[in-house]
């Protein structure tokens, strides 16, 4: 990584961590609903800087948000790792899809993978087993439109970052 890339990754880490904490503080109409702006920053890193940068942004953001929110090492942190990792892997693979997906489609896949990764973690770590599937329909059905929205935010930001 060049110094320039490291600086950009650090900037995106700061933005992602801030958004992750902000989102955890905002009251939501439905308790489990989350726009996923922190993951959107990982997607922006993937769009502008590639898979390694997206990995760095996700990993450091998850660690920092865990540290700042006091969840580090606990069950909430395990879910953040599971969701973040699932979304990242899914988005990196989706970005290589043929026929090509736009960044909106990549975002939708990342959003759905985030939900499924978290459910898998609840099933595997907390003894819920396949009962987690009863939670899946609503989570997945909302993940798709939310993925489109966060993807659109990423594309809009990407267009305004010409100077990068």
């Amino acid at each position: 990584m060049t110094t320039r890339t490291i600086a950009r990754v650090a900037l995106l880490v700061a933005v992602a961590t801030t958004l992750a904490i902000a989102e955890s503080l905002i009251p939501k109409p439905l308790p489990w609903l989350r726009l996923g702006l922190a993951n959107a920053v990982a997607l922006l890193a993937l769009v502008r800087l590639g898979a390694r940068a997206a990995l760095a942004v996700t990993a450091v953001r998850v660690l920092l948000a865990g540290l700042l929110l006091g969840t580090l090492g606990g069950p909430t942190f395990a879910l953040a790792v599971a969701g973040g990792a699932a979304a990242l892997v899914a988005m990196v693979l989706a970005a290589r899809a043929v026929p090509p997906l736009s960044w909106l489609g990549v975002s939708v896949i990342g959003s759905a993978a985030h939900v499924l990764g978290q459910l898998a973690a609840i099933g595997a770590l907390f003894g819920a087993g396949r009962s987690v599937l009863t939670l899946a329909p609503w989570l997945l059905a909302t993940a798709v439109p939310l993925g489109v929205v966060t993807g659109a935010i990423v594309v809009a930001v990407d267009r305004r970052l010409e100077a990068w």
Partner: protein
């Protein structure tokens, strides 16, 4: 791609055919999951686990409440009228409390910060019985 991204129509136009197929497949998949995992049957007990270990089993034919120690805080679980709910927890977002009551076999209430899951067992859709076989 310079379409307007701040309207529903603009967003739809920005989606490639592959985007649309993937989104539709995920939506249909979620409906299929909903049908497949549809809770049914009369559960007989609520099993409470913390980190995967069973810490309490509450029979549903008897009203009552129990307090168990989660990873973060004590959690109060109440059985009332064959339904189970989490009534108190000191976790940050209290999603478990806001999930309300559950009364169908196979349904769960999860409290992530406490690594706690309440699962309704027994009945036709018991999670230990593959319902692809039993119908």
């Amino acid at each position: 791609m310079t379409s307007d991204l701040f309207s529903v129509r603009g967003l739809w136009r920005a989606l490639t055919p592959a985007d649309r197929i993937v989104s539709l497949a995920l939506l249909l998949g979620s409906i299929a999951l909903g049908v497949a995992a549809r809770p049914s049957g009369e559960p007989t007990a609520a099993v409470v686990t913390v980190g995967g270990d069973v810490v309490a089993t509450l029979p549903l034919d008897r009203d009552g409440r129990v307090e168990v120690q989660g990873r973060l805080s004590p959690v109060t679980i109440e059985v009332s009228g064959h339904a189970v709910r989490v009534t108190e927890s000191a976790c940050p977002h209290r999603i478990c409390v806001r999930m309300g009551a559950r009364r169908h076999s196979g349904e769960i209430i999860a409290c992530v910060p406490n690594a706690l899951v309440v699962r309704l067992t027994g009945g036709a859709a018991d999670a230990s019985v593959p319902d692809a076989v039993t119908g």
